[in-house]
C-alpha cells in the first residue's frame, strides 16, 4: 500500500511536469499575440518594448523561461512558495491572489458537490426502485432537463426569477465566509444550485443505471431470500455497490471544477479560479493562465490518486500491486 502511494505520487510529479510543459508551450511559445504590446502604450519606442519584455521575463529563450518556471515552482520565488511569479496585468504576486481564489472555488465546488451528490443519489435510487413509474419518468425527465440546460442560461434565468422578479436572493457577487457567514450562504446558494443541477442530473442517471444492474444480481436475491428488510438490502448491499463507479466520476468532476467552473463564476460574479483564468486569457496574462492550469492539473491528479486509494476500501475485489 505504502509503495503504491509513493509510486503514484511520483507519477503525479511526472504528470505535472508534462502538463506544465505543454501549458508552457501553448501559452508562451504558440500565442499569436505579443503580451508586451498590452503594456507599452499605443505608440511605443523600441527601447520601451525591450524594457517591458525584460520586465516580463520574455527576453530569455523559451526553454530558459520554462526552466526558471519549474525551478521557481519547486523552490519558490521572492513572493513565497510555490513560486508562481507575478501577474503581467496587475504586477502583483499571483500566489496570494490564487490562494484567495482557490478558496472561493473550493467553497463553490464543495457546496455544489454536496447538493448534487444528495440529489443525484436520492433521485437515481428512487428512480431505480420505482422503475417505469411516473416517478421514474419524472426523475429522468429532470435529468434530461438538467443535462440539456446550459449553465449560463440556467444561471441567468435563476437570477431573473429569484433576484430580479421575486427578490428572494441577493444579487450576484461574493461575500467572505469570515466577514459575513449569512451573506456568504445567501450569495452562494444560487451558484451552488445552478452548478449542482447539471451534475445532479448526470449522477442521477448513473446511479439509476448502476442500481438497476446491481438489483438484478444474485447476491441481492440471496439477501432478500435470507429475509433482510428491503431497506437494508437497498442501502447496505445494493447502494454501496452501485456507488463505487460514482466515486471515480466524482473525484474527476470535483477536480475539474477547480478550473472548469468558468461559466458559473462568470454569471454569478464569483472571484474564483475559473474567472481568473478566463480574464487572464483575454488579457494575455500568461503567468496567471499557466498558474491556474498548474493548480487545476494538480487538484485533478490528487483527486485521481485519492479515488484510487478510496476504491480499495469500497470494493474488496480491488488490491494494490
Amino acid at each position: 500500500m505504502g509503495r503504491y502511494i509513493i509510486r503514484r505520487v511520483l507519477w503525479v510529479v511526472v504528470v505535472m511536469l508534462v502538463v506544465t510543459f505543454l501549458a508552457f508551450l501553448i501559452f508562451y511559445v504558440l500565442p499569436s499575440s505579443k503580451p508586451e504590446n498590452s503594456f507599452v502604450g499605443k505608440a511605443p519606442t523600441p527601447e520601451l518594448i525591450a524594457q517591458v519584455r525584460k520586465d516580463l521575463g520574455l527576453n530569455h529563450p523559451a526553454i530558459v523561461q520554462y526552466g526558471l518556471f519549474v525551478k521557481r515552482l519547486f523552490l519558490g520565488d521572492k513572493y513565497g512558495w510555490p513560486g508562481l511569479g507575478f501577474s503581467y496585468n496587475t504586477k502583483s504576486p499571483i500566489r496570494d491572489e490564487l490562494i484567495s481564489r482557490f478558496w472561493v472555488t473550493f467553497g463553490l465546488a464543495v457546496g455544489a458537490a454536496i447538493i448534487w451528490l444528495f440529489l443525484g443519489i436520492v433521485i437515481g435510487t428512487i428512480s431505480a426502485l420505482r422503475r417505469r413509474t411516473a416517478m421514474d419518468r419524472g426523475a429522468m425527465g429532470f435529468a434530461l432537463l438538467g443535462v440539456s440546460t446550459p449553465v449560463f442560461f440556467l444561471g441567468i434565468l435563476w437570477l431573473f426569477v429569484f433576484w430580479k422578479t421575486l427578490h428572494w436572493i441577493p444579487g450576484t457577487g461574493y461575500v467572505h465566509l469570515t466577514d459575513d457567514p449569512v451573506g456568504y450562504f445567501t450569495h452562494m446558494i444560487s451558484p451552488w444550485f445552478v452548478l449542482a443541477l447539471l451534475f445532479a442530473a448526470i449522477y442521477a442517471r448513473v446511479v439509476r443505471g448502476n442500481m438497476l444492474d446491481v438489483l438484478s444480481e444474485d447476491y441481492i436475491r440471496t439477501a432478500r431470500a435470507k429475509g433482510l428488510t428491503e431497506r437494508r438490502v437497498v442501502v447496505r448491499h445494493a447502494l454501496r455497490a452501485a456507488l463505487t463507479p460514482v466515486v471515480t466520476l466524482f473525484g474527476l468532476d470535483f477536480g475539474i471544477l477547480f478550473g472548469g467552473a468558468v461559466v458559473t463564476e462568470k454569471v454569478f460574479n464569483l472571484p474564483g479560479l475559473g474567472n481568473y483564468i478566463l480574464d487572464a486569457a483575454f488579457q494575455l496574462d500568461i503567468p496567471v493562465a499557466l498558474a491556474v492550469t498548474t493548480v487545476t492539473a494538480l487538484v485533478v491528479a490528487i483527486m485521481s490518486l485519492l479515488v484510487d486509494i478510496a476504491y480499495a476500501y469500497l470494493d474488496p475485489r480491488v488490491t494494490y500491486s
Binding site: 504590446n37 520586465d55 496587475t90 504586477k91 457577487g173 460574479n269 474567472n275 478566463l278 480574464d279 488579457q283
Partner: protein, 627 residues
Amino acid sequence: MRGKGLIAAIAVAGVTVALAACGGGGSGGSANTNGNTTSGTATKGGTYRMATQDFGFTGAFDPSAEYLGWAFTLYGNLLIRTLLSYNHTAGAAGNVLVPDLATSVPTPTNNGLTYTFKLKQGVKFGPPVNRAITSKDIEFAMERIATPSVAAQYGFYYQPVIKGMAAFLAGKAKTISGIQTPDDQTIVFNLTRPTGDFLNLMAMPASGPIPPEVGKCFTQAGAYGRDVIASGPYMIQGSDKVNIASCSAIKPMSGYNPTQRLAFVRNPNYDPATDSTKVRQALPDGFVITIDTNAKDIFDKIGAGALEGSPDDPPADIIAQYASNSSKKQFLKTNSADRTDFIYLNTTTPPFDDIHVRKAANFVMDKAALKLAWGGNIEGPVANHIVPDVMYKGGQFDPGDYNPYPSTNSAGDVNAAKNEMKQSKYDANKDGICDSSVCKSIFFMNRSVQAYPKMTPIIQSSLAKIGITLNPRELPTSPAYTQIQTPSKHIPIGANAGWGKDYPDPSTFLRTLFLGSNILSSGNTNYSLIGLTSAKAKQIGALFPATGVPNVDADIDKCTAQTGDARNSCWIALDKKLMETVVPWIPYQFRNNVDLIGPAVTAYDFDQSTGETGYAHVAVDQSKQSQ
C-alpha cells in the same frame, strides 16, 4: 490612450437598425452631446457605485505608466492634481486647459522654449504623507517618467521635448537639466524645441506630483499603482493606514485589489479653496468600483438603482431598450469620445499604392451602412476627415460640412468612384473597374468582435463596385492589432483599428499616426506607412513602391511648433491635406461614448478631456439607491 471599450473582455454587438434615428449628432461630425445634466438636487454625500468587468489598466494604475483613458479620468477627477487640468465637462469647453496646482496657465518665454509654473500655496498630499506639495514633487514625477524600469507608456511625449530628459533616460545624467526648481513654489521647464502642446503634457497624470519619500520605493513598472498618494479630493481607501517609515514597511492600500475592487474616500487634506468647483465639485463622499464579470448583471443593477454607472459600454440590447423608451432615455448619456473609426489603406501594397484607388475607395464606401452596423447615430456621427471636430478650437472643423468624397446620404457615389478609378494604373481599359489581378482577393483584416464583423460584407460589397474583391480574416482584438502593427505582414487593408486622443490636441492623431519617423517594425500605429523611406522599408521588412510613399513630416513639424489659432489652422489644413492628397484612410465614424446611469444619479457630466464620465461633477441621492 486606450479607451475602456477597446479592451472590454466581452464584446458589444452592434445595435439595431431601429436605433438609427436615436440620439443627436449631425452628418458634419458635430459632437453628439447630452453631458452636464441634473435631475433633482445635486447635494453632497453618498457613495457613487460602479462596476466593470475588468479594470483594464495597462500600467497597473501606476500614474507614471498607466495609459488607459478611464484611469486618466479617475486620476484627474478624483485622485491626482496636475499643474494644469480641464474642467472635466462635456463639449469643447471640456478640452480647454485651466490651472490646477499652478496659479495660472503660463505663457512661454524664450521663443517658446521656456515655461515657468508657480504652484499654489496650501495644497497638501493626502495621508500618509500629509505635507505640502512642492515643485520637487513634480520634478520627481518627471524623473520617474524618464526611468526605464518604470516603463512610462507615454514617456515619448516628454522625452524628446524637455531638455536633458533623453540623457537622464539613457543614464547619462543624474538630473534632468531642462527642469529647475528655484524654490518650492516654482518649476521651470526648458525645451529642446518650441512645442505647442507642451501645456497639455502638464495636464497628463504622469506629470502629477509624487512624493519622493514614497515614490523612491517603487522603481518597477506598475509597482506604485497600489500605493498612489493622493493630491486630489479623494484618496484610495486605506491610504491613512499605510506605514511609510521605510520602503519595506509599505504595504498595498486596502482599498485597491486589482482583481476585485477600487474604493476612493475623501482626502482629509484636500482644501477646496485651492481648487475650482468648475474643475472639481467632489460631491459624493466616496466612489467604489467593483469587478462584476457578468456584463448583463452590471447593467441590470444600474437599472435597478443598485449601481450608479459603469465605465463599460452598455450592451446593444440595453441601449436599444433605453433609447426606445421615452421615460428611460434620460438615463442614457451619449457624448463624443473624441475617437475616430476608420478603414486603413496601406500605401505600400497594391492596389492601394495608387492614390486613385484610395480615393475611389473613399468615394464608393457606403458609410451609412457602416453606421447602421454600429447602431446609427447614437454611436456617433459619420466621419469625413481624421480628427474629431470637438478637438479643434471651439469644437469646429472648418468648414463644418467638409467632405472631400461626398455622396447622397453618405451611401457612396459609384460614378465618382469609377471616375477616380479610371485614372488608376490598375484600370487598364479605363471603365472604372479595377481589372488588375492585384485587386482580386485582397487580404482584409478585421476584428471578430463587437460590430466589426457586421462591417465586413458592407466593405466587401462597396469595394466590389469598383472591381476590388476582399479575402477577409477576422481575429479577436489583440491578435488583429498585432497583425496590422507589423509592417512586414504587408496587410493592404484593415477595419479593425480605431484611434482616440491622448489629450485634446490634434497632434495626438496627426503626429502620432502619420509621422514617418514613428514607423516601427512591431507595435507600429502608422498603419498606412505614411512617410516611409526606402531605407526604413528595408530595415523593417515593409514593401516600398517604385512611385514612393507620401510624406507629411514637414507639415507635422511645422504644426507642432505653433501655438494658438495658428496651430489650430495648421492642423486643420493638414487634416484636409491628408484626406485630399495623401488619403491614408476611409474614416467612417466619430465614435460616441455611451453611458448608462442609475436612477439615484442627480448630477451627471462628461469629461471631454478623457472621453469618460466626469466624476468630478456627479452627485447621488442616497434615498434612491438600492442594494
